[in-house]
């Protein structure tokens, strides 16, 4: 303790003491951080989360729809049915309330602005398979006020039903109409007493009234090493699923060797669903000549 000229103790410290105290407290601070780190690590060691051993991983999942491989409307129906029954998607039997994860539409609705009156009959009459594009820059994620919808590290735009408050901003933001709102209780029954979900898949949850849902690229299947449900039942080569960041992936091979287009790419959302165009002798084309 320093003394004044009269020999009394005074409440001040010189530089030497100040540096000592500062040094000691810095050491104590760093030490305690290390101790807390160690404690937290121990807690994690006791129980930890991990992806399964069979999980499929990618830097950027993407899908290629080879429209040449889909020859009949039934080929599409197989895909949509497989998805909707696997994920307990309700059928409200009313286009206004429709809930869909994967569906079909005409060329001019799928690729607006690309249609003209001299298109091949095949393309003109063909339906196209549509689903969430899992955009690189998803507008739905940007507008979600609760972060219920978010982009995973592997590029999948995921929907957390626990957080969705049903504000429908994402539906307004999505330029592809890939999101559906549950205007009615999906577990309810129609006027004839038929349940909206024909047959519940007990392995997957349903949704509740007032939440938005969409395709998730089957995250629950990827986690156990399976491809998305639609890919599995599509005609051979019709739907190809893979990693865009992997040069050797099947998806990249097709993109390298075919001319592919994306829906509304001019909007800059960066869709991860690609279409290989071409005639396929679609069975609903009327015979003209």
């Amino acid at each position: 303790m320093p003394y004044s000229a009269k020999g009394e103790k005074v409440m001040s410290i010189n530089r030497r003491e100040f540096l000592k105290i500062a040094g000691l407290s810095a050491a104590a601070g760093i030490g305690s951080v290390a101790i807390f780190d160690r404690l937290q690590k121990n807690a994690l060691e006791a129980s930890e989360f991990s992806a399964g051993p069979d999980a499929l991983n990618a830097k950027k999942w993407a899908m290629v729809v080879d429209v040449r491989k889909f020859k009949t409307p039934e080929d599409y129906k197989k895909c949509t049915d497989a998805c909707h029954s696997a994920h307990n998607v309700p059928d409200f039997g009313n286009p206004k309330d429709e809930v869909k994860w994967i569906w079909t539409d005409t060329f001019d609705h799928t690729f607006p602005g690309q249609e003209h009156e001299y298109l091949s009959e095949d393309i003109k009459h063909k339906n196209f398979l549509l689903l969430c594009n899992h955009c690189e820059n998803p507008p739905c994620v940007r507008v979600c006020p609760t972060k219920a919808t978010f982009k995973r590290k592997d590029g999948i735009v995921m929907q957390d039903m626990h957080r969705c408050i049903g504000c429908r901003f994402c539906m307004a933001a999505c330029p592809f109409g890939a999101r559906s709102f549950n205007y009615r209780d999906p577990r309810g029954k129609d006027a004839k007493g038929q349940p909206f979900i024909k047959e519940e898949n007990p392995e997957y949850p349903t949704r509740m009234i007032g939440v938005v849902e969409k395709c998730t690229f089957c995250t629950e299947r990827l986690a156990v090493g399976k491809l998305p449900a639609c890919v599995e039942v599509a005609p051979a080569g019709g739907l190809v699923f893979g990693d865009l960041a992997d040069l050797k992936s099947e998806v990249r091979k097709i993109l390298r060797t075919n001319y592919t287009i994306r829906r509304k790419s001019e909007l800059g959302t960066g869709p991860a669903v690609f279409y290989v165009m071409g005639d396929s002798g679609y069975s609903v084309v009327p015979e003209l000549l």
């Binding site: 129980s47 930890e48 989360f49 999980a55 392995e203 949850p205 349903t206 509740m208």
Partner: protein
């Protein structure tokens, strides 16, 4: 000091207090039966003796199952990690519908009993599908 209509006021106060407090003195000494959970579902009994263990200890699950389920949900939905390794190193698929309820197939005698007793209403089952209850 004089209280106008004092008699009526005091009788009113006494009647009010008596009515208001009636649940307390009418139910005094009569404890509501503690909920007894059934953990002997056919699914659990089918398991070999040494595997009849929950993901964590009974005491932990009793006190912390909601935190556990919450962290499971975040890990699965937001983190994409679906496998839980418990304190004994055993691995489980983190799923209320496909893991918890596969053993505890008796939602009414397991979940609901305590939740009704404690008057809490978790909204798990508006989306997650509860197992089909067998009538016993």
């Amino acid at each position: 000091m004089k209280i106008y209509n004092g008699g009526k006021i005091f009788i009113g106060i006494i009647v009010f207090v008596a009515l208001f407090a009636s649940p307390f003195y009418l139910n005094r000494g009569k404890a509501v039966a503690k909920p007894e959970l059934k953990i002997d579902t056919p699914e659990i009994q089918k398991l070999p003796e040494q595997e009849r263990k929950c993901v964590e200890s009974k005491e932990f699950m009793r006190a912390e199952h909601m935190q556990l389920l919450d962290s499971w949900r975040d890990s699965v939905v937001r983190g994409g990690n679906r496998i839980y390794k418990n304190s004994h190193g055993k691995e489980f698929n983190m799923s209320i519908q496909n893991t918890c309820m596969k053993c505890h197939s008796n939602k009414k005698d397991f979940c609901d009993k305590c939740h009704n007793y404690a008057a809490v209403k978790p909204y798990c089952w508006t989306c997650h599908i509860a197992p089909k209850e067998k009538k016993s």
